[in-house]
């Protein structure tokens, strides 16, 4: 099904730029179900290519992509860097955590500086919710959100969906979306942008989402996003098809949220016994980095037939390649993706 020919998706999605009429990818909250499916389908060709020995395309040759990471990151930064390089772009990493931001430069000034260097796409991670939206409003190239505070991490949700889709296909249960599937996300939901993006993405694709966390780590009003909250882990796991474990984001906690890691493991650690409560052959996911022995036991994380944690990492590169490819099509002048047929008005919704 996957091929190097992008026209493989034609007919299933709106033509040209209408398939993804956004300049930026700021969050799953701003995209439609068919746009998510479009990005997943676009990623398939890159999954294929990444498995070959020669992993290079010249699709983005000559383009400059800046990865501006205002918060420390290893895997996401690496994943975006590899994605850009495999597409032939010139990738520059800016570790803003130790740069001029420390000298008092405002975020807006940094954004304007990046813009003036004529990047063709900017990938941003920032510790404050909404920071990426703010930058997107000040630059005139596509902006990709690589995680903003506790708000969204859209490429993570997309790669999780792609990994899940592949795992189900490998098992012969593949279908376009996740209708009928139950996914339980367990861990520090309150501080997790991964949880928020995944709730939006999984529910858009038809899955039922359960959330499980101690009360202090469960955000108020989360059921309004379409997920069912639990505090009892065993109850939340009962019959679930996928267990997605999240780590405790101690760096975002001021004050004590749980008594100890040992106690957390006792109540919310995914052990082999707990895995038995899930549906037969239930899958285990984790966005990483894992704290083995806290939220997940090593023997569960390493179960070859159940854990798709490394597959998630693999899909990350493909999804990011697809996002970079799709978002730069207008700038590259790909036929059908020109000026007049994509791109929404930025200043809609005025009072008068």
């Amino acid at each position: 099904m996957a091929s190097m020919d992008t026209s493989s998706t034609s007919g299933r999605f709106p033509a040209g730029g209408q398939a993804f009429p956004h300049r930026d990818l700021l969050g799953i909250g701003q995209v439609e179900r068919h746009e998510i499916l479009f990005l997943l389908d676009e990623a398939e060709q890159w999954v294929e290519m990444n498995r070959q020995s020669a992993k290079h395309s010249d699709t983005l040759a000559g383009l400059t992509i800046i990865n501006a990471f205002f918060e420390n990151s290893t895997r996401t930064l690496l994943s975006f860097e590899i994605a850009g390089k495999r597409l032939g772009a010139d990738v520059v990493n800016m570790h803003a955590a130790q740069s001029s931001v420390k000298k008092g430069e405002t975020l807006i000034d940094t954004a304007i500086t990046l813009n003036a260097m004529r990047a063709d796409a900017i990938v941003i991670r920032h510790g404050s919710s909404g920071a990426v939206d703010l930058i997107a409003g000040k630059v005139d190239c596509p902006v990709l959100n690589a995680g903003d505070g506790q708000h969204e991490h859209p490429t993570q949700a997309l790669l999780d969906a792609l990994a899940l889709r592949h795992a189900l296909e490998a098992r012969g249960e593949g279908s376009e979306d996740f209708t009928g599937l139950t996914v339980t996300i367990c861990g520090d939901i309150l501080h997790s942008r991964v949880a928020r993006s995944n709730i939006l993405c999984l529910t858009a694709l038809g899955a039922s989402v359960r959330l499980c966390a101690p009360p202090a780590l469960m955000p108020a009003g989360i059921e309004a996003m379409g997920a069912r909250p639990f505090t009892d882990f065993d109850e939340a796991l009962r019959g679930t098809d996928v267990a997605m474990m999240l780590r405790l984001q101690t760096e975002r906690m001021s004050g004590q949220f749980i008594p100890s890691a040992r106690e957390y493991h006792h109540l919310y650690g995914l052990t082999r016994e707990r895995l038995e409560r899930c549906a037969p052959d239930a899958l285990v996911m984790h966005p990483g980095p894992m704290n083995r022995g806290v939220e997940i036991d090593s023997e569960v994380a390493d179960m070859l037939d159940r854990s798709i944690i490394t597959r998630q990492v693999e899909m990350g590169v493909a999804i990011r390649m697809a996002c970079l490819d799709v978002l730069t099509r207008k700038g590259r002048g790909v036929p059908g993706w020109g000026d007049n047929d994509g791109g929404r008005q930025k200043d809609e919704g005025q009072w008068v």
Binding site: I108, G130, D133, H151, R196, W351, V352
Partner: protein, 409 residues
């Protein structure tokens, strides 16, 4: 500037505590000397109000900056300044300097810092600051966490007969929060605190006011349960009054969508059910004061990610128009609207102003209550345009202002 020549305003509708009625008002030597159905004296300067409202100049209780052009645009002739200045108003010398700073055409009534450096531990010299011109005591932008300090403050202020203006948010629950816990904050991923932070603080402060007999004014009461507490305390005869700013009866936390930092306020905007409760509380008299909370903040404080931005809004210019929406909605009448914005705050501060009454200060605003305009953050008179009402159509403008009988501008 002293009023040299008597002035008579004819042809207007006088906004008095008993209602709005056509009439004439005569101002001499800075005071209101007569009003009602009176003929102008020979030699008076005559101003024709052309049928517009002749109202008391607004008394804005609890502003964070002295911003003369914004206050005058908004029909405000007196403002009580919060002690959160640089340096804070915690010394008599600072208070007496501020008390003179606005004269002649804007009177600033300083509110003394309750504690030194507003840090919530040691009481400031409230008696000396009263003599220096302080009209009240305020806890500043945050509450006093130590209940023992708060109890002693209220007792001391009661002895001095100074009202205590409190900020009701339990600091422990609030922490780093910039939003009210609920669907909006969860979707946006903003650090949030439960609305009970306000309920707890209001409950404690009412209990301590009841114990000490102090006059407690809670600057902003914005939640269902806290308003119920105020309502019940008033029925018991506790000396408590409540205020609010237009943001909390015009907007819910939906206004924070797209991380609009102009809607980053303290206390944060609440879900819609609380907005409805605020409106009801204005209607039934639980809320006594509507103030602007004027806090102009430039781009260095607001052009930031939502949770990094400073809270506050430039509210002086929109106070009048937003409060008049409650009149047009039939919730309150015009007389009550001006009691909320002028009469009640003046009584609280113990000043003879805020009401059209013989012998009171001749602070007068001529107001066209129907005049349409559009709030535009780029064209505001204030030192910064951080209004959550940006782009919104509004109705009602001050068209002339007199301070002590002298026309302004």
């Amino acid at each position: 500037m002293k009023q040299l020549r008597p002035l008579t305003i004819t042809g207007g509708c006088l906004v008095t505590p008993d209602g709005v009625k056509p009439g004439v008002i005569r101002l001499a030597e800075g005071k209101i000397v007569a009003l009602g159905d009176i003929p102008p004296d020979d030699g008076d300067k005559i101003v024709d109000a052309k049928g517009q409202l002749v109202a008391p100049g607004l008394v804005d209780l609890g502003v964070f900056a002295v911003d003369r052009p914004a206050f005058h645009f908004g029909g405000i002739t007196r403002a009580a300044l919060m002690p959160d200045q640089l340096p804070p108003l915690d010394l008599p010398s600072r208070v007496s300097y501020i008390a003179k700073s606005g004269k002649p055409d804007l009177w600033i009534h300083p509110l003394a810092a309750a504690t030194r450096n507003l840090d919530g531990y040691e009481l400031a010299e409230l008696g000396l600051m009263r003599n220096a011109g302080a009209r009240g005591v305020a806890t500043g932008r945050s509450w006093i966490a130590d209940s023992g300090v708060m109890a002693r403050l209220l007792g001391y202020a009661a002895m001095l007969d100074l009202p205590v203006i409190a900020h009701p948010e339990d600091g422990g629950l609030v922490g780093e929060a910039v939003a009210t816990a609920g669907e909006m904050a969860t979707r946006l991923g903003l650090p949030s605190a439960p609305q009970q932070a306000e309920v707890l603080a209001v409950a404690r402060d009412i209990a301590l006011a009841e114990m000490t007999g102090a006059r407690l004014h809670i600057r902003q009461v914005t939640t269902v349960a806290a308003l119920d507490l105020v309502r019940a305390a008033k029925q018991r005869g506790v000396s408590v009054t409540a205020g609010v700013t237009p943001a909390h009866f015009m907007l819910s936390d939906l206004a924070t969508a797209e991380f609009r930092t102009f809607a980053n306020l303290s206390p944060p905007l609440r879900p819609e059910i609380h907005r409805q409760a605020v409106i009801a509380a204005i209607g039934d008299g639980t809320i006594d004061v509507v103030a602007s909370g004027h806090d102009p903040r430039g781009p260095e404080d607001k052009r930031l990610p939502f949770s990094d931005a400073k809270p506050g809004m430039a509210g002086a210019e929109t106070l009048l128009a937003m409060t008049l929406t409650l009149v047009r909605d039939g919730l309150i009448d015009t007389a009550r609207a001006f009691d909320l914005m002028a009469g009640a705050p003046a009584r609280l501060l113990g000043i003879e102003a805020g009401v059209l009454q013989e012998g009171y200060e001749a602070d007068i605003a001529l107001i066209d209550p129907e005049r349409p305009w559009v709030v535009d953050s780029r064209k505001m008179a204030a030192t910064a345009g951080n209004t959550p009402f940006d782009g919104q159509p509004a109705q009602g403008r001050a068209i002339a202002l007199f301070k002590g009988g002298v026309p302004i501008g």
